[in-house]
């Protein structure tokens, strides 16, 4: 069983011998895990991504062209999974989104830095940005603070401009 090539293994899986998938899992889990771990430090997240990678590969196996190599295909799936992972993560940290001001992705990287720069903002700007950071939408912030949506937009824009300036000079 162990001497089978990837191509033979995939043909067997396509013919319903699904237990042969364990061979591919044995062969490539370590490699894919190392690749994912290189980009994602959290062990659990990395494991989840590796699991998703193999499940997506299994789902696509009926359409898989056996002339292709398995490992690059797995890398491709893992890469997409990571892309989705980062995108989902980005959604929960709204301050990373560049809304109109084009702040660089590397700016204000840590929360400590954030605390330092927040002192240059007004109380209203601080509160607004904090709510934004907690994941509230503009509409929710406007309701929470009892201000009009456009006012919230302006406050955030001004705060971002200030932060951006500080980031450029500091």
């Amino acid at each position: 069983m162990a001497e089978l090539t990837d191509k033979e293994v995939i043909l067997k899986i396509k013919n319903g011998e699904i237990d042969f998938f364990s061979l591919l899992v044995e062969r490539y889990t370590r490699i894919i895990f190392a690749y994912v771990r290189g980009k994602i430090s959290a062990q659990e997240d990395a494991e989840d991504l590796v699991q998703n990678t193999f499940i997506n590969f299994y789902k696509a196996i009926d359409r898989f062209d056996i002339s292709r190599k398995v490992l690059p295909y797995l890398y491709e799936i893992a890469k997409n999974e990571m892309r989705m992972f980062f995108r989902a993560k980005k959604k929960t940290v709204s301050l990373d989104e560049n809304i109109g001001v084009g702040a660089s992705e590397t700016s204000l990287a840590t929360e400590t830095q954030m605390e330092d720069v927040l002192q240059y903002l007004s109380e209203r700007e601080k509160n607004t940005l904090k709510l934004l950071q907690e994941g509230y939408s503009y509409e929710e912030i406007s309701e929470k603070m009892g201000l009009r949506l456009n006012t919230i937009r302006t406050v955030i824009r001004r705060a971002r401009l200030k932060l951006n300036k500080l980031d450029n000079y500091g």
Binding site: G16, I18, R30
Partner: protein
Amino acid sequence: MDNLQKKILKKVYKYETLKTLGYLLTRALAVILLFLGMIFLLQAIIQYYLASQTLDLLQLFTEDFDTIRQYFWDTLYIIYIESPKFRLTILGIIIFLFLILILTIVKNFVKIKRKVSLLIKFWIK
């Protein structure tokens, strides 16, 4: 790493179990529905023929050969005219779908049987 591999395989088998169950259930349901549809339509068509006494025309075939030859096309035409065409068309479509379904089931039978036995083996081990 072994633990991760086990997790992956468990998820894969779970996915495959659901997929195979879905496949078997939809096919079984389709076979049953098409078969019942076929029986229902066939019964309705036969009743229609009996009511219109169209089938009596088939007595022609008990006659001698010359009579059969003389009236064959006429009889066939009358049967065609008196037939419930819409129901017959539906019956034809149902029979066609039924045959296609049976053929695909037969074609995939070995593969599915193998999958099912492997799935059972995995879950009861």
